[in-house]
């Protein structure tokens, strides 16, 4: 018989080790998946994990790692606050879109004015856009007790349609020959999210992600508000007893997550993407959920997890083009990562005991 026995204390060392273990198991299971698809598993894993960083074309892939990792980290950091407190914002994708639309909207409204304050104003607009979108499920939860999981998720689809309406309507490029999509902000110097260090892939959004990670660490470990977030997640009743106002905490966590997702969207549209298009969003808001958990809801863990997840994106694309792996296989691969992480997570709180004979 195999059964689980609760540990008296959660094992600290294991909680750092389980993400690594999950990655290893994912590689094995993913390899099997690729083998079943008729591909060489070793080559596929190498294409995904090794080549982008150390391979022949690493000079091209390495900056991409930051470009893709930046928004994932930024969004995941915001989500992790809520997740720690048991507040489940699943709608970061929508908040990301609304931040991008708000940020781009400011730039497009001011075009072709050139001024130093335009980019800062876009940052504020982007954060506000995402914040406002997150406030809808937050306020509904606080006032009427609705389920924030459902409301935030449903609002993603609203946001997607709003995005499409903008791309072919109000924000459409008047000089775009009727094609859907806005002006390209990369060609609008005051609004362009440039690289902080040229050629590194490190644009202002990536810088913002690293700053947010440090601030998140300080909040969670050195500030009362962070303590209250952790306390609420661990023991909601004890949190109330301690004096935490649960409604205010929901507003704060959802609001922060929304603002950070909005920022990510704004940096994306003003930088790597360049323009509002019907297919602007590529699922960063959902992938960030995996990143948050893979990073143990710890700010620095999230930075590492974000970069790892970016690697699977880039490596996955490479595998698609060089090995003809289907895109769905890469998504399954990413899903496996979360699945195995949650599965091995059991080990931090329980130990496996194997006994011979009948159970006691």
């Amino acid at each position: 018989m195999i059964y689980l026995e609760k540990r008296p204390q959660p094992a600290k060392a294991l909680s750092y080790f389980t993400p690594v273990l999950a990655v290893l198991i994912t590689m094995v299971a993913g390899g099997l998946l690729f083998a079943v698809l008729g591909k060489n598993p070793v080559e596929a894993i190498r294409t995904i994990f090794w080549d982008p960083v150390f391979g022949e074309f690493a000079f091209y892939y390495r900056p991409q790692l930051l470009v893709k990792g930046g928004p994932l980290i930024l969004i995941a950091l915001g989500l992790s606050l809520g997740f720690k407190a048991g507040i489940w914002n699943i709608g970061a994708e929508g908040q990301y879109i609304m931040g991008a639309v708000a940020g781009a909207g400011v730039a497009l409204a001011l075009y072709p004015l050139e001024a130093w304050w335009i980019f800062p104003l876009m940052i504020i607009a982007g954060a506000l856009g995402g914040w406002a979108w997150a406030m809808i499920p937050a306020l509904l939860k606080v006032k009427f007790g609705t389920n924030e999981i459902l409301v935030s998720l449903m609002l993603v689809y609203v946001a997607e349609n709003f995005l499409k309406a903008m791309a072919i309507g109000a924000m459409k490029n008047p000089e775009g020959f009727g094609f859907p999509g806005s002006r390209n902000l990369q060609q609008y110097p005051s609004a362009h999210n440039t690289e902080v260090i040229a050629g590194s892939g490190m644009h202002w959004g990536v810088a913002a992600a690293f700053i947010a990670a440090i601030m998140g660490y300080i909040l969670l470990n050195r500030h009362m508000l962070g303590f209250q977030i952790r306390l609420t997640g661990e023991a909601p009743r004890a949190a109330r007893f301690s004096g935490v106002n649960p409604g205010r905490l929901v507003l704060f966590c959802m609001g922060t997550a929304g603002a950070l997702a909005g920022l990510a969207g704004m940096f994306e549209v003003a930088g790597p993407a360049g323009q509002i298009t019907t297919g602007f969003n590529v699922g960063y808001g959902f992938t960030a959920i995996i990143v948050a958990f893979l990073g143990r809801l710890h700010p620095f863990g999230i930075v590492l997890a974000g970069l790892l997840m970016a690697l699977t994106y880039i490596g996955g694309e490479a595998a698609q083009s060089t090995m003809q792996l289907p895109a769905a296989a890469i998504q399954v691969f990413q899903g496996m990562l979360l699945f195995f992480l949650l599965a091995v997570d059991v080990l931090t709180n329980y130990r496996i005991r194997i006994t011979l004979g009948e159970a006691a």
Partner: protein
């Protein structure tokens, strides 16, 4: 008189603790046998082995002359062993008969069963209406459901785990009359308790456990309660002492406090009015579930009321939350340690911060001072003799008694103006309970006003100046604790719940 159950050398070990170490004793036919010991002495593990819930590592049992090795409770029941647990397993939304039917392998039709329940309940003097919804029953009535459920199986051995903790003194008398009747009919009873007077009045023989080992046997009628207590604790008990103080100003006042309970089967508070003065300890008795949790929440600020309903030193604070009340000096200690008074997975340092952050200066402009929090946790551990490897241990790793010392100590050491505690010594060993009671009395001597809510009447008599009881969310008259008889206390607690049914 023959032997019904023979227990020889039962041993059961869990990781890190030996719950039972080579325990042997016999229960005779028609004997009421007491199993006596403090919390954590191993009583529960032992009866779980008898009832087939836990398998012993070593040792054997003989029941009615043949080997007895129950691998599951069903087997135990088939042999004639029945058990009434301390925590009931009843469904609130079903009626009594339906609840009883759920525990049976082949239940008869509900009408027939109801008739059976009625006849057993009359036969043994346990008033109970089979058609009532369990959610509407008092704790004492719920216990009767469990007892009748057992009696329907015609048990040879009835195990009762701390049955009187949920009863008023009058209900205890009814229960004892039933148990004596069962004994007269030849049923053996294994009676688990740490209440010595009860055991003296009911039981024929007693086996005393301490730290998993059998430390002695006695015939309860022939020894004093103090002698049994010494065997149980292993040393002489320290009785809390206090000096008579003249009460000062009114510090805490409740005026017509009425609030609905946040939970469906909870008890709403109805027009509670009381005053507690500096230096006074007010004891509030009551059977569990009569509004104790709600009263504590209304005082801690977890339930808000109209502002004038609660006042502290003359200031109305009924609409203020927990943080504001704590700032003003009203501190509370809830009954539930894990999950309410403390966060199970967080360290003792973090749990010290949980209520002490502001009053103990562990925070400046929102930023936490971990060093100070650690010092405060260490100070609590030191003064209240909390047994733990250190301040960075998770709260859930502490034993119940040690965690209780920590959470009560955390409030006491913040020098409260008013302290309200619910079941301060629940599940705590006698020595730790004495420490906690002494700390409460010292606080009052220092000029604080203290409210102790408890189901342990002995404890209340020991610490209180004034005494009242909660009954279905209402407060009885407040009387001086000195000179109150058990009879009076019982009536304040509401007498016998549901007695009218028997006469109906």
């Amino acid at each position: 008189m023959g032997t019904l159950l023979e227990i020889v050398g039962l041993t059961k070990a869990y990781p890190g603790v030996v719950a039972n170490d080579d325990v042997s004793f016999n229960i005779g036919d028609g004997e009421v046998h007491a199993l006596l010991g403090e919390n954590g002495a191993g009583k529960s593990t032992l009866v779980k082995m008898i009832y087939g819930l836990v398998k012993p590592d070593q040792g054997e049992m003989v029941f009615g002359g043949t080997v007895y090795e129950p691998s599951e409770p069903q087997e135990a029941r088939a042999r004639g062993v029945a058990m009434v647990f301390q925590h009931f397993s009843l469904f609130d939304a079903l009626n009594v008969a339906e609840n009883v039917a759920l525990g049976m392998a082949e239940p008869p039709k509900t009408g027939e069963l109801a008739e059976k329940i009625r006849s057993v309940s009359e036969q043994y003097g346990l008033p109970l209406d089979p058609w009532r919804l369990v959610g509407d029953l008092s704790a004492g009535e719920r216990q009767r459901v469990e007892i009748i459920r057992c009696l329907l199986q015609d048990p040879k051995l009835l195990i009762m785990d701390e049955p009187t903790s949920v009863l008023t003194p009058q209900e205890v008398e009814i229960l004892f009359a039933t148990l004596r009747k069962l004994k007269a009919e030849g049923t053996s009873i294994l009676y688990i308790s740490h209440k010595l007077e009860e055991i003296r009045s009911l039981c024929d023989e007693a086996t005393i456990l301490r730290l998993g080992k059998k430390v002695g046997t006695c015939t309860p009628r022939e020894v004093t309660a103090a002698q049994m207590a010494e065997m149980m604790v292993g040393s002489e008990l320290h009785r809390p002492e206090r000096e008579a103080a003249t009460p000062g100003e009114v510090r805490l006042a409740l005026k017509d406090l009425s609030v609905p309970s946040p939970s469906q089967f909870g008890t709403s508070l109805k027009n509670i009015t009381l005053e507690v003065r500096a230096g006074e300890v007010l004891g509030l008795a009551g059977v569990a579930g009569n509004g104790q949790d709600e009263l504590l929440a209304a005082l801690s600020g977890e339930i808000l009321s109209a502002s004038g309903m609660v006042s502290l030193d003359g200031t109305a604070i009924g609409n203020k939350g927990p943080a504001e009340r704590r700032r003003r000096g009203l501190l509370t200690g809830p009954e539930e340690r894990l999950g309410h008074a403390a966060a199970p997975n967080m360290t003792l340092t973090e749990n010290a911060l949980l209520t002490g952050a502001e009053r103990e200066g562990m925070m400046s402009s929102g930023f936490l001072k971990w060093g100070k929090a650690r010092d405060f946790a260490a100070a609590i551990i030191e003064r209240f003799d909390v047994r733990t490897p250190g301040t960075e241990t998770a709260a859930r790793a502490l034993s119940g008694g040690n965690l209780q010392k920590f959470v009560i100590g955390r409030e006491v050491m913040q020098r409260p103006e008013v302290l309200v505690v619910n079941q301060p010594t629940w599940g705590v060993d006698a020595a730790a309970a004495a420490t906690i009671r002494q700390a409460i009395l010292d606080l009052a001597a220092g000029g604080a006003a203290v409210v102790v809510i408890s189901q342990d009447l002995d404890e209340l008599m020991e610490v209180s100046d004034n005494f009242a009881a909660l009954n279905e969310g209402r407060l009885s008259e407040i009387k001086p604790a000195k000179g109150l008889s058990m009879e009076e206390i019982g009536l304040m607690m509401g007498g016998v719940h549901g007695m009218e049914v028997a006469h109906a």
